[in-house]
């Protein structure tokens, strides 16, 4: 069983090709029939404050930008960005699970909205 992608055909080695590949998450794993790409996907989550919720950080940043001479900024809203590397390879299951993570922990839905992008 592959520890990264839950593939049961995995034979006990996994290898990461090149330093950049770490960031691309193209991890090669050894299956019974040879080497293959790690199957999984990346979830990118944007968490933003709901409309109407005051964002003092955004306001202060907007003020600082104006002070630097950047004009024409109507509003600044600050949020969070979270990346998850998932073992799941079924997009529907992955989305359902990330939805649950957002609702339960990653976002506070009293004041925050979240958007999920899945990279397969």
């Amino acid at each position: 069983m592959c520890k990264i992608c839950t593939n049961r055909d995995f034979r006990g080695y996994s290898r990461i090709y090149g330093p950049n590949d770490v960031f691309n998450h193209r991890i090669r794993v050894r299956f019974a029939h040879g080497w293959g790409n790690h199957q999984g996907m990346k979830a990118r989550i944007h968490i933003t404050l709901k409309n109407g919720v005051l964002d003092p950080q955004g306001k202060a940043t907007e003020h600082a930008l104006s002070g630097l001479g950047f004009g024409g900024i109507n509003d600044v809203r600050q949020g969070k960005y979270i990346e998850l590397d998932l073992a799941e390879s079924d997009p529907a299951k992955a989305r359902a699970s990330v939805e649950a993570m957002c609702a339960k922990l990653l976002a506070n839905t009293v004041i925050e909205n979240y958007e999920i992008d899945l990279d397969e």
Binding site: V53, L54, P56, Q57, A60, L105, N108, V110, I111
Partner: protein, 232 residues
């Protein structure tokens, strides 16, 4: 009275609560580690202030998922009194025992000073030794104390008399000028529906001994000990 103080990595007011409870109860509370879900039978649970988990993600969000907090929620639902102070209040909102959320202070600054509070509800085990409308002076020390909830929730809290403390002037006027952090309707502390859970941003344990410069926090611990000693 048997009390437990929940200790998380980053709690820093746990010992202050321990001292305040010892002073009022004459015995030491159990200091209970957050990772241990086996919470003994107690008459009172205190979730103290601090920076549990370094305030990562959101203040209180990670501690709210710790094994013991699930047990604290279950006990609270059975009627056991739970007091959350500062970071404890944030944890109680994050775990769903109390409505709303504590947002970043409107002024973006960490605030550490004494504030005046008006006692708004005295029919609870926490506030029974105060007088309704009494003005007390208690320190706050927080970066996220800006209480926020939607209007429906705020109206319900007001309608059900569940606001325990409001920030006010030394004369007791609840004004924007006396609101240190931008909290909705100057809310400093709220109760759950069953009135056995209190969350508050100010620190009563920090002014519970004359040696510390004031004793306005002491009636909370004295009242809890009286109420829970007679119950047991």
């Amino acid at each position: 009275m048997k009390a437990a103080v929940i200790v998380s990595p980053g709690s820093n007011c746990d010992r202050d609560v321990q001292v305040a409870l010892r002073q009022s109860a004459g015995s030491d509370p159990i200091m209970h580690w957050h990772g241990d879900a086996n919470l003994p039978d107690v008459d009172l649970i205190v979730v103290p202030g601090g920076f549990s988990y370094g305030d990562y993600l959101r203040a209180g969000a990670l501690a709210a998922q710790s094994p013991v907090i699930r047990e604290v929620v279950a006990r609270a639902n059975q009627g056991v009194p739970v007091l959350g102070i500062c970071n404890g209040f944030q944890i109680l909102t994050e775990c769903g025992l109390l409505p709303g959320v504590l947002m970043r202070n409107a002024g973006l600054k960490f605030i550490c000073r004494d504030v005046d509070l008006r006692v708004e509800a005295t029919d609870t085990v926490f506030t029974r030794d105060y007088v309704n409308g009494q003005i007390i002076r208690i320190p706050v020390a927080h970066n996220e104390g800006n209480y926020f909830a939607d209007d429906d929730t705020l109206n319900r809290l007001d309608g059900e008399d569940r606001v325990a403390f409001r920030y006010c002037s030394p004369e007791g006027a609840v004004t924007a000028a006396d609101n240190p952090n931008g909290a909705a309707r100057n809310i400093a502390g709220i109760l759950n529906e069953g009135r056995n859970v209190l969350g508050m941003m100010p620190h009563p344990e920090r002014l519970a001994d004359a040696m510390l410069g004031g004793t306005d926090g002491r009636p909370m611990f004295d009242g809890l000990v009286e109420a829970l000693a007679t119950a047991a």
